[in-house]
Symmetry: C2
Subunit: 357 residues, 2 copies
């Protein structure tokens, strides 16, 4: 039997950044209240949530109290410490589940899981020592990229290897962390699928978006993506395969490299995803509401796309463009309420709408 949370229930969100903020707004549309758990002060999500708990993830009392006052717990980022989740889960269900979180927290486990499903990934090898790396570079070749197994995001914790001479520096930069060497993939472009799976197992995917990165940070997502009908079907089917294999509940982001030999999974994110922000102005139900619907046991919403959209992130000094952007017809602004526009910091995004092809 499926537990559908009633209107008025409270959703606990771990992390108070922009994703938590937009989840809270979406939850309000369905009549839910949100409580934010966030170690940092003045989190963006707190400006649009019923309640904020400011406490570190190591504060067991705060975690227990939080879990006792919410009906379901979700998270806006995948690096929540395991010990905190253990405590929370004693009291309250966590969705998406621990398996999805565990797999996506570790690049090595994630790649092994994906290969186990028959899905293609970049060639990879586990790296702990300089000798591991020397051997792996022989097999995988250069250019290649060394990434920490855990806690990487937005291009952080990554070193590019152009030749054997980079091996020593690369190992140094990992500073003793376990790592994965990934071979470069010769891809024409990157797309991502924002998929959702409900508590009853139903699956829905938004149209794939095409992503452009700069310096490891997403710059734009454009829908529709350049994909053949067959590629689009592949992208959606493999997303469904991942969702089912994880017995997943919620929204999942799947990044894919498009190659002549088929789609290669770059990485998965067990949460709403930056490349899904276009849904806020391209669909009746956006990825944030879809996630809330899934984790509360509601039916998934209608994610049909009604417009072409180009989403552009506003990063750091891009905030100087807000005055111009606010006067630009067809542009929807989404700012995150962050005080300081530091270089590399995601401050907001815009969705630029044009009629559907």
């Amino acid at each position: 039997m499926i537990d559908r949370l009633p209107v008025g229930a409270t959703i606990g969100i771990l992390g108070g950044g922009q994703l938590g903020r937009m989840l809270s707004v979406a939850a309000s549309r369905l009549g839910f209240e949100c409580a934010i758990y966030e170690p940092g002060s003045a989190p963006p999500a707190g400006q649009v949530a019923a309640r904020v708990v400011t406490a570190p993830y190591g504060d067991e009392d705060a975690l227990r109290a939080f879990a006792a006052t919410v009906d379901v717990i979700t998270y806006e980022f995948e690096n929540v410490p395991t010990a905190a989740l253990d405590i929370l889960e004693e009291t309250c269900p966590i969705r998406p589940n621990r398996k999805a979180l565990g797999i996506s927290q570790d690049r090595l486990t994630e790649k092994e899981f994906l290969n186990g499903l028959g899905l293609q990934t970049a060639p990879f090898a586990a790296i702990s020592t300089a000798d591991d790396l020397t051997a792996a570079v022989k097999g995988i070749g250069v250019p290649s990229i060394l990434k920490t197994r855990r806690f990487g995001y937005d291009g952080k914790g990554q070193v590019r290897l152009g030749s054997d001479a980079d091996i020593g520096r690369a190992i140094e930069e990992m500073a003793g962390s376990d790592a994965v060497l990934e071979g470069f993939v010769n891809f024409s472009h990157e797309v991502s699928v924002i998929g959702a799976r409900g508590l009853n197992g139903e699956i829905a995917c938004f149209d794939p978006g095409e992503n452009l990165h700069d310096d490891g940070i997403l710059r734009t997502t454009t829908v529709p993506a350049r994909l053949s009908g067959a590629q689009k079907a592949d992208a959606v089917l493999l997303t469904g395969k991942i969702l089912n294999a994880l017995d997943y509940v919620g929204v999942l982001g799947v990044e894919l490299f498009v190659t002549p030999g088929g789609l290669i999974v770059n990485e998965i994110a067990p949460r709403v995803h930056n490349s899904g922000h276009w849904t806020q102005n391209g669909c009746v139900i956006d990825q944030f509401e879809q996630h809330i619907r899934a984790i509360t046991g509601w039916p998934l919403g209608d994610g049909a796309r009604h417009a072409n959209v180009k989403m552009e992130n506003l990063i750091g000094a891009d905030m100087d463009r807000v005055a111009d952007l606010s006067a630009d017809p067809g542009v929807a602004l989404h700012l995150y309420g962050k005080a300081e526009a530091k270089p590399g910091r995601k401050m907001g995004h815009v969705n630029r709408i044009t009629p559907k092809d």
Copy 2:
């Protein structure tokens, strides 16, 4: 010179109901924080606002403290007591301005203002006594409707007169309040225009919507409304005339009766309006964001409509339909976070989207 409030500024909202709630969400998209002033406890807007002040409108200290911590003040309903506004305005600008508020707070003043602009209204007469009413019924005839000059909403404070025999009861129901007798207008349907005027005087109107009421409460708004091109132009032009005459800043709702003799103004509301909720799923910029843009000195947004929409209010026991509605494709739910679904209470609305004609 126009003061454009910077991202991060705080907007004070008088009233914590659903309109304040949706204003706060819209403000968050532009990077503003909202503070809610509301006498009642646990207001719906408080669930998605940075701060809530719970105090009566007679609490001068609370009003002064509130005004001192916000950058601009707006309101979600037109019956804010004048004395409270006097105190707030010592410290902080109130938008829309006091003139608009004063006129719309009084049905008699409002009708005289509209006639003064050359706009048609229902025939009306000021009523203080039974003698006034007897005389007025002779001139205006029956059926007609007696309404309190002030503090009426959703059909409250109104008595219908079917014959001279109703005069005594009608006066009794007014309980000493000054009133207005309005003649019935023979109209085919009601439409409304949601117009906006910026701090620099620019004007933008959303497409007119067609309204259906039941027992004095709005049930549905449908866009596009049944209007000829000329009627649509008239509706927009007269809205612009009202906005300019009031030196208005913000969103204004104008209810119009469609008759063979032209458009007749039923009433104006100096705020976001229930009949404008369809804009949330029909436009890139909705009425709530448009209001926030106007009162903060930002450029008005692009209100072009990209879909046909039927908005339906969920009133009282309509909440029993939420489970079904949540599974209905093309339906966007907007619930207000109110605890009790009392009869006649607006609990939420749905926007049903179909492709644009």
